[in-house]
């Protein structure tokens, strides 16, 4: 049995039945990493020694714990923008190349407490800014389905690691689609929870009003279990929601009868790859057979989402990244005076995409431009929110493609930022509105690349989109296919 290929719920059950130990499982995962990492480059930092030590402790707990938690002894890959005490956290930036955090982010703290084992830190676009993981300051990660292609981004390392069985589950963050788009490109499941559902404390901030932590998993059940483990109020994050966490896995009944699903007409227009559209429409028909009611809806301000996103996100980023000044930690250039120290430290520490976004955001907030850009963008953001409020009066969830295309070639879009930005066109609205959205596999294109379908839910109604995703997953076997590379 290839232990590394197991899902969380499979591995967890077998661990609890003592069919194998957490050490066996962890060793299997690291064996898989050493066999495949050369071809993929999913990880920036591996934490093998600590992981094996944690596995040993997990085995002790598995022996003594009468009611072990679902994550106990499970190897998990963590995106390198989660702060991990004692494990280098780079955010794929030269600026933080040697940064070892003094504290754990809330999510990692929760995972550690539940006995999960951190395999290492996965690659991403620098500061989570990008859609292909090519903006990493260190190297590009490759898509296990075709190693000439990108895994998507920014959580490309986590998606690739998961698809290649280099971990059992993974964590990502999603500011404009950074969990869902790579999940679609790599044929795995990725969930962006409602804004405020999971603590942001200890996540390296990109755009504070949209950043959200979420699970990336091999199937929908794992996704529900992971969300149960990481969701919840955190007094250290003022924007986290103080409301109870439902047992998401209990909603996975396969019964979706009479749920109403909206299909927004604005999402199926030009620019979409034909096999992607076809796969999503076929998936919708499958769900209809499962008993859901399908209806067309309209989200009239959809066209503005990308523009609004790139103003709000860059404005917040320009301020969030001001702390990387070379004074207290991270890269410092030695220069003749203070101003030059700032300028050189940042010039050397940040890559071109990060600089581009800092400049865009600084401009959008500048005196004389604030009203025309930032303020107007926030107003349009409110209109987009109202579109969804209106739509959800007549449906329980919305289905759209996750990305307009399947995984593109490495280097294909790096010279054209605007084209790159458009690969987030279907995912951005959920971030602007704070709504939960899940991406799951719904087929393959003519070249054998995975296609993702996205289900968007009402605020804090992750249960419904998980239920729909699960029902669909049960009627297909896309999630069981493995890449061959």
């Amino acid at each position: 049995m290839n232990l590394a290929a197991l899902t969380l719920h499979e591995a967890g059950e077998k661990l609890r039945k003592r069919e194998f130990s957490a050490q066996d499982l962890t060793e299997a995962v690291f064996r898989r990493i050493s066999e495949t990492e050369e071809k993929l480059h999913s990880y920036i930092t591996l934490s093998r020694d600590a992981a094996l030590k944690e596995a040993k402790q997990a085995d002790e707990r598995l022996k003594s714990d009468t009611n072990p938690r679902s994550l106990l002894g499970i190897p998990i890959a963590v995106k390198d923008n989660f702060l991990t005490r004692g494990i280098r956290t780079t955010c794929a930036s030269k600026f933080l190349e040697n940064f070892i955090p003094p504290y754990d982010c809330t999510t990692v703290k929760k995972l550690r407490a539940s006995g999960a084992i951190i395999t290492g830190k996965t690659n991403l676009d620098e500061f989570a800014m990008g859609s292909s993981a090519e903006n990493s300051a260190f190297f590009a990660t490759r898509n296990p389905w075709d190693t000439d292609r990108v895994p998507g981004g920014s959580s490309g390392g986590s998606a690739a690691a998961l698809a290649a069985d280099q971990c059992i589950v993974a964590l990502g963050t999603d500011t404009g689609g950074s969990i869902r788009q790579p999940a679609a490109f790599c044929g795995v499941v990725g969930l962006k929870p409602t804004y405020g559902r999971v603590s942001r404390y200890g996540i390296i901030a990109f755009a504070s009003s949209m950043d959200q932590v979420g699970p990336m998993t091999k199937d929908v059940r794992d996704c529900a279990l992971m969300l149960e483990a990481i969701a919840g109020y955190d007094p250290a994050d003022s924007t986290s929601a103080n409301r109870p966490v439902p047992q998401y896995s209990a909603s996975l009944t396969g019964d979706v009868k009479d749920l109403r699903i909206g299909i927004p007409k604005e999402y199926f227009v030009s620019g979409i790859q034909p096999d992607v559209e076809q796969a999503v429409r076929t998936a919708i028909r499958q769900l209809e057979r499962n008993g859901v009611a399908i209806k067309e809806i309209s989200l009239p301000h959809t066209d503005y989402a990308v523009a609004v996103y790139y103003i709000v996100a860059t404005a917040e980023a320009s301020s969030n990244l001001a702390r990387y000044d070379g004074m207290r930690y991270g890269h410092r250039a030695y220069a003749k005076d203070l101003t030059e120290t700032y300028m050189l430290s940042r010039a050397e520490g940040f890559g071109p995409e990060v600089k581009r976004r800092i400049m865009l955001g600084t401009y959008a907030l500048s005196a004389g431009y604030y009203d025309a850009y930032y303020l107007k963008a926030q107003r349009v953001r409110t209109l987009i929110k109202k579109d969804f409020d209106e739509a959800f009066k007549s449906c329980d969830a919305i289905i759209v493609p996750t990305a307009p295309t399947t995984a593109f070639k490495i280097g294909e879009k790096t010279q054209d930022p605007l084209r790159m930005y458009l690969s987030d066109i279907y995912t951005i609205s959920a971030n602007l509105t704070g709504l939960p959205a899940i991406s799951l596999p719904c087929g393959f294109d003519s070249e054998g690349l995975p296609i993702g379908m996205q289900i968007i839910g009402k605020h804090f109604d992750e249960s419904t989109i998980l239920a729909i995703a699960y029902a669909y997953e049960q009627s297909t076997d896309w999630h069981k296919r493995k890449p061959n590379f």
């Binding site: 702060l83 956290t89 955010c91 933080l96 940064f99 955090p101 003094p102 504290y103 982010c105 942001r200 404390y201 200890g202 996540i203 390296i204 901030a205 755009a207 504070s208 009003s209 007094p235 250290a236 994050d237 003022s238 924007t239 404005a315 917040e316 320009s318 301020s319 990244l321 001001a322 702390r323 000044d325 004074m327 207290r328 930690y329 203070l338 700032y342 600084t362 907030l365 500048s366 005196a367 604030y370 930032y374």
Partner: protein, 493 residues
């Protein structure tokens, strides 16, 4: 042409909370550099601010006491700029929606009440400190102060002279001290002031070009700085020159202001609402609760002191200007109820001593070596005739030096006043014998000699005899002239 001065003040008041505004670090002053820090207040990656509720409560207290409108809905905003003492590269402050607006403070100008309007009061975090003079090869950064809560209190340009500015500041400081939200210590920087100064031809209403004056680290600096700036501006205009909008620094050594930066180099702070913090929503109930808990404020206390203790208005004014002084006054009265005498001692000798020893800006008077019950005991001793007013001054100085009680000092120094007639008579007799010639002169009609003789008695007894009684006895003895000479003569022979 005559010019009118127009001044608006921006005060930064450090709040007396136990912990910082966005993290749990202590606000204690005087710790080793960077001792009061954590990942949050040093701006590490990933950290998030959580607003200290006490800061909001203190802001509401200040707002209610200054007749402000309290915003039911206010926002924290980021003010973006780079400086090594600003760890996040932005300061969390308030911008378009401050917590308090449209208030006022009444000040006394030449015994007339004048109203100074307040534009706004907002909450913000303090920055750390850059230290440039400790090492020759580097500047050092101490982030203990980074994240300490501040209120910024902005007045309208209603102030018309340096003196009014000083009055306004003292009144505001007293208010914050009464509210127990700021210690008002200018020297340690817990009460700081920038002044916007401009002049305009008398009778006109348009505002002149304003200069922002910084580095005003004491009341004296505020007054002198503004005075200098007014003079400089009027001179420039009178010479036909023009002023530029700029920031100028007060140099207390050279007693002049000099340019720091002009408008062209002003920062663009790129304020925007902080997405890490929710809007601050304040309900009516909480405001009512805080309103009900407000302490007696200086104006009300002054009125009460006058009616309750029957002391003159100017004493009441001096006593209530600082909460610690008024508290000191009232605790002294608990031990010995002589309000007039005690008010005199506090506003006279105590204030002088505080000033001479430069303690007036540094210490709470309640922390000062002369404790209220010691002062009360001393005044009681005077009232009981046990020490003279003159001796009391010596006792007072000694109390300030040692912190001992007056009884201890008197015993230690043998200063107890001699009041029993027998001892006094004895002492007087000795003086009269030693000065027979002068006694004879007095009896011959030279009245001036009386004072000389009193002096000699005081000298001989080291000032310990009760002067009133000594006068009485001396007078009686001198009129019974012969008897004295006879008895004395016998003794001497």
């Amino acid at each position: 042409m005559k010019y009118e001065t127009v001044v608006g003040l921006e005060v930064h008041a450090q709040l007396l909370t136990q912990s910082k505004i966005f993290c749990g670090c202590s606000t204690k002053f005087g710790q080793a550099p960077n001792h009061n820090t954590c990942p949050i207040c040093t701006g590490f990656p990933g950290v998030l601010p959580v607003l200290n509720k006490k800061v909001v409560e203190f802001a509401i207290r200040a707002g209610l006491a200054t007749h402000c409108e309290i915003a039911r809905w206010s926002r924290l905003a980021r003010k973006n700029y780079f400086y090594p003492d600003l760890p996040k590269g932005y300061q969390i402050s308030q911008y378009e929606l401050p917590i308090c607006t449209n208030g006022y403070i009444d000040i006394a100008v030449n015994m007339v009440v004048k109203r100074i309007r307040l534009t706004r009061i907002h909450m913000e975090e303090d920055a750390g400190k850059n230290i440039h003079d400790l090492r020759s090869d580097a500047s050092l950064v101490d982030l203990n102060r980074a994240g300490v809560p501040l209120l910024e209190i902005v007045s309208e340009p209603d102030i018309r002279s340096a003196e009014e500015a000083g009055n306004y500041l003292r009144t505001l400081r007293a208010m914050l001290q009464y509210l127990e939200i700021c210690d008002g210590n200018m020297e340690e920087g817990s009460f700081r002031c920038d002044a916007n100064v401009s002049v305009r031809p008398e009778g006109t209403t348009a505002l002149g070009t304003k200069v922002e004056l910084k580095n005003l680290n004491s009341f004296k600096a505020v007054e002198k700085g503004i005075e200098f700036e007014i003079r400089r501006q009027i001179e420039a205009l009178s010479d036909g020159g023009r002023l530029i909008q700029e920031t100028r620094l007060w140099d207390p050594d050279r007693e002049e202001t000099r340019s720091m930066r002009t408008k062209e180099f002003a920062h663009d702070y790129r304020y925007f609402p902080d997405p890490d913090l929710l809007p601050v929503a304040i309900d009516e109930e909480w405001i009512d609760e805080i309103r009900a808990s407000l302490p007696e404020l200086p104006g009300a206390r002054k009125v009460r002191l006058i009616s309750q203790y029957d002391i003159p208005s100017y004493h009441a004014e001096l006593l209530t200007n600082r909460k610690d002084v008024a508290d000191y006054f009232e605790s002294t009265l608990i031990t010995h109820r002589n309000p007039t005498a005690i008010a005199n001692w506090i506003t006279g000798d105590l204030f002088r001593l505080l000033k001479d020893r430069k303690l007036d800006e540094k210490l709470y008077i309640t922390d000062w070596p002369v404790q209220p019950d010691n002062l009360a005991a001393m005044v009681a001793l005077i009232d009981q005739g046990k020490i003279s007013g003159k001796l009391a001054k010596t006792v007072f100085e000694a109390m300030a030096d040692s912190g001992s009680s007056p009884q201890e000092i008197i015993a230690e120094k043998g200063l107890e006043q001699v009041s029993d007639p027998e001892s006094i008579e004895k002492a007087i007799d000795q003086v009269l014998i030693a000065h027979r010639k002068q006694v004879a002169d007095y009896q011959a009609g030279n009245q001036k000699i009386f004072g000389f003789l009193v002096g000699q008695i005081m000298k001989a007894t080291q000032g310990k005899v009760n002067p009133q009684k000594a006068n009485e006895i001396l007078k009686r003895k001198l009129t019974e002239g012969n008897k004295i000479s006879a008895t004395s003569g016998r003794k001497l022979d």
